[in-house]
């Protein structure tokens, strides 16, 4: 979160900084015109110069460079165009406004330039008045500090008051000092690194221990200290990595769960072998896409919130389709449950092709809203991405919704009565056709919510659902048909086991092993995790 906000702040500050420059009040900045250089080496050199000597305002120019707003205009001047907030173009050589220029030919910015810009901005930002910006800058510089930065970093450290920033700067100094020939400085550096608990520094220690032509590294005290520090950091790294696996597992599990919940209703509760379940996911995803597109067209300002608006739609579209399908097709098959396989397979083919003809065979783009982009780096080496965190929360919400509908209203009771004995249920006054219709629609709608979640982690194309159907059936059956809780436990269990195996086996073998485990597990519990026991079970 911190990082996220600090990035936001950086952007805000930069935008603020651009404003005066754009108004043409900026002083003449020598070297800025190098930013239009045709040769990348020159360009990078210009950027580096800015980084070494630049003022906060220059950071804004560098950002503009990345946004393709710096370039040569028709008259060969090196010009910076105004950003979104408006203003006038500025001639970088003279610092004067050049009205009327609205197009420039930007230099070729590639990763090399981008990296240089990033470093330069960080270096400039070390002097920023906002501690958050300074911290972000310091962290940025941590990734590959060089000897040449030592002086400026130490200078910054001397001035620094904020303890977090201080710690970060000290780590940079330590990283640089690790390479110093003086064993004492090395030892001190190792101490700082060890205390920082930052597992990303493991490689620095490794390099130190592996270094051959470094006399300072041969010092036994240094070696011992480095080894101790290394093993303590490595222990931490293992813990972090296990925690990571757990998170990944829960996250994968919650995706599995969301994609299976609808099936747990249509198949688990109603007994429809619903091969069109995947297509309900797909419809939910396309509904989300449509909402996004409408927002882009009609409410461009609120586009970040399209996802919230999509929740009811992604539920409603499959809900209605499900309702129609139930009324037109499924309902004739309740006495021949096996044949629902055939019909729903047909439905699935038809839905896929319909969507393909309407939207094209290619994937459509669904964007993560900015508040779901990126992630929270809880410790170094473990980033919890916002989209996946959101999915976990959303899954909990949908599970609750299902639980509530099925256990706190009579719907669940009636559905189960209908599936267990349709005729008797009728004779007890249950409107079986209504229950069938609502339940199937509900299952489809829930699947649609799964589709909404999928848009945030995967692709949206006509075949989207096909990739989930096997897993969904497996989850529902593994948990025990007709047991919602089984589906929950089954999905999370599969997710966690899968992710626990993946680091050791790789994704392919891991998946094979998981399937094998499922097969073996069912041998032990032939009715799934939460089996119906007792006389009625066979």
């Amino acid at each position: 979160m911190l990082r996220f906000f600090s990035q936001l702040t950086v952007v805000v500050v930069l935008l603020a900084a651009v404003a005066p420059a754009a108004r043409g009040q900026g002083a003449k900045a020598p070297g800025l015109s190098g930013l239009c250089a045709g040769s990348r080496t020159e360009l990078v050199a210009a950027v580096d110069r800015l980084g070494a000597s630049g003022a906060p305002r220059d950071a804004a120019v560098l950002r503009a460079l990345l946004d393709y707003r710096v370039g040569t205009d028709a008259e060969g001047r090196c010009v910076m165009l105004p950003g979104e907030e408006g203003g006038q173009a500025v001639d970088l050589a003279s610092g004067l406004a050049v009205p009327g220029v609205d197009q420039v030919e930007p230099p070729l910015v590639n990763n090399r330039v981008r990296l240089a810009v990033k470093k330069a901005v960080a270096q400039i930002n070390l002097a920023d008045h906002d501690p958050a910006v300074r911290l972000a800058a310091a962290q940025e510089l941590q990734s590959s500090p060089s000897e040449s930065q030592l002086v400026s970093v130490e200078a910054a450290l001397a001035k620094e008051k904020d303890s977090q920033v201080k710690a970060a700067l000290r780590t940079i100094v330590a990283q640089i000092n690790l390479g110093s020939p003086d064993p004492a400085r090395k030892l001190r550096a190792i101490g700082i690194i060890s205390d920082s608990g930052d597992t990303s520094l493991i490689s620095n220690l490794r390099q130190l221990l592996a270094a051959k032509d470094d006399p300072g590294a041969a010092d036994p005290r240094v070696r011992q200290a480095a080894k101790d520090a290394l093993s303590s950091l490595q222990r931490k790294a293992v813990v972090v990595s296990r925690l990571g696996d757990l998170f990944f597992g829960v996250s994968l599990g919650s995706v599995l769960l969301l994609t299976s919940l609808g099936l747990a209703i249509t198949f688990g509760l109603m007994g429809v072998i619903n091969m069109a379940h995947g297509e309900m996911l797909m419809l939910g995803a396309y509904a989300t896409y449509m909402v996004q597109q409408s927002f882009r067209a009609y409410f461009p300002g609120a586009v970040d919130y399209y996802l919230l608006a999509a929740i009811p739609f992604s539920f409603a579209v499959p809900f209605l389709v499900g309702m129609a399908l139930e009324r037109c097709i499924i309902r004739f098959l309740y006495k021949r449950p096996l044949e629902t396989l055939l019909a729903t397979w047909g439905i699935s083919l038809g839905l896929i092709q319909t969507v393909r003809l309407l939207f094209g065979a290619q994937n459509v783009e669904v964007q993560n809203p900015s508040w779901l982009s990126g992630g929270l780096e809880v410790v170094s080496g473990l980033t919890l991405t916002y989209n996946r965190l959101a999915i976990i929360v959303f899954t909990a919400f949908v599970v609750f919704l299902c639980w509530f509908l099925l256990n706190r209203t009579t719907l669940g009771l009636q559905v189960r009565a209908v599936t267990q004995d349709r005729d008797t249920a009728k004779a007890m006054g249950i409107y079986t056709w209504k229950i069938d219709m609502w339940t199937f629609a509900l299952g489809s709608g829930i699947a649609g919510l799964g589709g909404l979640a999928l848009t945030q982690v995967g692709n949206v194309g006509p075949e989207l659902g096909q990739g989930y159907i096997v897993d969904s059936f497996m989850v529902v059956v593994l948990g025990g048909v007709g047991k919602l809780i089984g589906t929950v436990v089954g999905a999370l269990g599969l997710g966690v086991i899968n992710k626990a195996l993946e680091p050791f086996m790789g994704a392919v073998l891991g998946k094979i092993i998981v399937l094998a485990l499922v097969i073996v597990f069912i041998q032990k519990r032939p009715q799934g995790l939460f089996a119906f026991k007792g006389r009625a079970s066979d």
Binding site: K426, G429, I430
Partner: protein, 231 residues
């Protein structure tokens, strides 16, 4: 109360019921009797709306049920105890009873306690799966479930099957009491003569898909029995 007119029913090609006429007055308690396979269950199912009719008409409380679906019939006050109990096997006893409440007109949400007074064993078994109960317990549950929907007309298909003797008497007493005191109309399929005699005010005899004899219970004599209840 209930009038069945010229009801015919067939499974595919083979006709089972032939122009059955049957009339029940409010407060009647009728025993329907007949050999195996003469169509008693078929008649009750048709009455309940679980089988399509070939022809005929069913009137209940002035309402034409003929075109009405089963749940509406239940909600209009017909309680049904199916043959073979048809408990929901994977639902607990309590849930089974709550299903019975669905058909109530007063929207009551809790199982009325008189059912547990009637069948104390159900109280002990509330959390047990319906399918796990013993046969007799299931039968009691089925009757309890039908009573839960507060019917005006109860139709029971051999409800004493598999029930222990003292409870049979108990059930007979209760049904008679409901019949007498609350005016519950009862249509009861029964094979066992003693029970039929004890319970029924009138009888209807079925043979080969037709009602062949009816009258007050006292009129059920050996001749009729020999003629229609023996092979």
């Amino acid at each position: 109360m209930l009038r069945i007119e010229k009801l015919s029913q067939a499974y595919g090609g083979s006709q089972i019921l032939w122009d059955v006429d049957l009339t029940l007055e409010p407060g009647d308690c009728v025993c329907l009797m007949g050999r195996n396979g003469v169509g008693k269950t078929t008649l009750l199912k048709a009455l309940m709306g679980l089988l399509p009719l070939r022809s005929g008409k069913i009137l209940f409380d002035g309402l034409d049920l003929t075109r009405l679906a089963a749940p509406m019939r239940a909600r209009n006050g017909i309680g049904y105890v199916p043959q073979g109990r048809d408990i929901f096997p994977r639902m607990t006893v309590e849930e089974n009873l709550r299903v019975g409440l669905v058909g109530r007109r007063d929207g009551l949400r809790a199982v009325p306690s008189f059912i547990f007074e009637l069948f104390p064993v159900l109280k002990d078994m509330l959390g047990r799966q319906g399918g796990d109960l013993s046969g007799g317990q299931q039968q009691q549950l089925a009757i309890g479930r039908a009573l839960a929907c507060d019917p005006k007309l109860m139709i029971l298909d051999e409800p004493t099957e598999g029930i222990q003797p003292n409870i049979i008497s108990h059930i007979c007493d209760v049904i008679s009491r409901l019949n007498r005191e609350m005016g519950l109309t009862v249509l009861w399929v029964e094979q066992k003569l003693p029970i039929a005699r004890r319970l029924g005010k009138t009888f209807q005899l079925m043979d080969k898909g037709r009602i062949v004899a009816s009258g007050a219970m006292a009129e059920l004599d050996d001749e009729l029995i020999n003629k229609h209840l023996k092979v």
